[in-house]
């Protein structure tokens, strides 16, 4: 087994067992000596992906790094596995989430102003627990309300590399 070969397999194994996406740096850190360069790793990831062209899975780059996932289009069969707790979110949840995503950093008050109803504290708690949003600071106004922003995990969940990959708002007037 030559060096390149085993490097490739180690990276493959790492992507396979990791619970979280791996950055190039994290992949490099798996090696104590003979650390591969980031460029080298990138090439190996490309090579791996090419070798997967007949497989049901692929390596994708999301906000917090590379991750191995099943290609889209298999949900019909695979959704029966792992009995995920519901992946449907309420309108209130989604609306609150997009306001945080697009207007961040925002306070609860900002969200309430836009939605015209008070924010359900449970929704915010849920999002914080999922690590989709976090408190990034406090606004210098009465009560010093918390400023909320989305995290990389949020982007990872929606297969996005950065906030700029979010769907653009449509122009209301032209519609």
């Amino acid at each position: 087994m030559n060096k390149q070969h085993s490097l490739q397999k180690i990276i493959e194994g790492a992507l396979m067992v990791s619970h979280e996406p791996l950055t190039l740096q994290e992949i490099a850190n798996l090696f104590d000596d003979n650390k591969p360069s980031k460029n080298e790793i990138k090439q190996i990831v490309d090579k791996l992906n090419e070798s997967y062209k007949d497989n049901a899975f692929e390596i994708v780059l999301v906000a917090s790094g590379y991750r191995l996932q099943v290609r889209p289009g298999y949900d019909q069969w695979l959704s029966k596995l792992n009995k995920q707790s519901s992946t449907r979110y309420s309108k209130a949840f989604l609306e609150t989430l997009v306001i945080i995503a697009y207007k961040q950093p925002v306070t609860r008050g900002d969200i309430e102003d836009i939605r015209g109803v008070s924010v359900n504290p449970q929704i915010i708690r849920n999002m914080i627990e999922f690590e989709w949003i976090k408190v990034v600071g406090h606004k210098e106004s009465p009560g010093k309300p918390e400023l909320l922003a989305t995290t990389k995990k949020f982007l990872d969940y929606f297969n996005l590399k950065s906030l700029s990959d979010l769907p653009p708002p449509s122009e209301l007037n032209t519609e």
Binding site: V17, H19, E95, Y102, R115, F158, N159
Partner: protein
């Protein structure tokens, strides 16, 4: 589907005067109302229903409609968020401003609707975005992340240390928040009942069906028997297992609940 003849009674009173521009039967209305995310959502619905441009909402009919809906909600004892009433007041204020001729002012005064229109457009924008976000591929619905297993690898070694008192503290937090045990405290006996429930369930899962008598261990004495019996009763109550006896005095079996 517009019906002219409503025959609806609510709280013993017959509802006869349904607002004319309310084209939803009240029984369906309740279902619909529950879907509104707030006053802005309701307003947008009314506007859309009439094919009006947000930029140029006719404040009079919209206000009338909105107020009618609010009244309906109250008549149906629908739990109404105060936000809805605030909006009703806002609409009324705009309406009155629109009715008062503004020839007193020289310079052109701002359209009283301007602020509301801005809010509606802003909300509409995020409403659309939330629908867009809902359809982009997400984990466990559209994409499935691979997470393989490693053998010969003791993950437990890497676990951060956890002390019992941390658990206690966590439990205290849970209690404080939920106050589930506010009225009754769990005694250690109940605990062992729950533990026994788990162990019997594991046994049933492994073997499919087990004999009632196999659940008991004589060495545990009377106390053990009581705990086991309570555990079985509790599992029946919680619909976790079925108890089966084919005829009187024959062997009693426990098995996983079948529907």
């Amino acid at each position: 589907m517009f019906e002219n003849n409503f025959d609806i009674t609510l709280n013993g009173k017959e509802i006869t005067d349904i607002p004319e521009d309310l084209f939803i039967p009240p029984d369906a209305l309740r279902v619909i109302l529950e879907q509104f995310e707030g006053p802005l959502d309701l307003l947008l619905y009314l506007i859309k229903k009439q094919n009006i441009d947000i930029i140029d909402i006719p404040i009079l009919p919209i206000t009338t409609q909105y107020v009618n809906y609010i009244n309906m909600m109250q008549q149906m004892q629908f739990e109404l968020a105060s936000d809805y009433l605030v909006m009703a007041a806002t609409l009324a204020e705009i309406k009155s401003k629109m009715l008062v001729p503004n020839d007193i002012e020289d310079e052109e005064e701002e359209d009283p609707r301007a602020n509301l229109i801005k809010r509606l457009m802003e909300y509409q924008k995020y409403k659309d975005l939330s629908e867009k976000l809902d359809v982009i591929p997400r984990r466990n619905r559209d994409t499935f992340v691979i997470s393989g297993i490693m053998t010969n690898f003791n993950k437990t070694d890497n676990l951060p240390k956890l002390k019992l008192d941390q658990l206690e503290a966590a439990f205290q937090d849970v209690l404080k928040r939920a106050e589930i045990y506010a009225s009754h405290t769990i005694e250690s006996e109940t605990l062992s009942v729950r533990e026994r429930m788990s162990s019997i369930l594991i046994n049933i899962n492994k073997n499919g069906t087990i004999k009632f008598t196999e659940c008991f261990t004589y060495s545990e004495g009377r106390m053990g028997a009581i705990v086991t019996f309570l555990a079985i009763l509790e599992m029946v109550k919680e619909s976790l297992i079925d108890i089966i006896q084919n005829e009187d005095f024959s062997i009693i079996y426990l098995q996983t609940k079948t529907s």
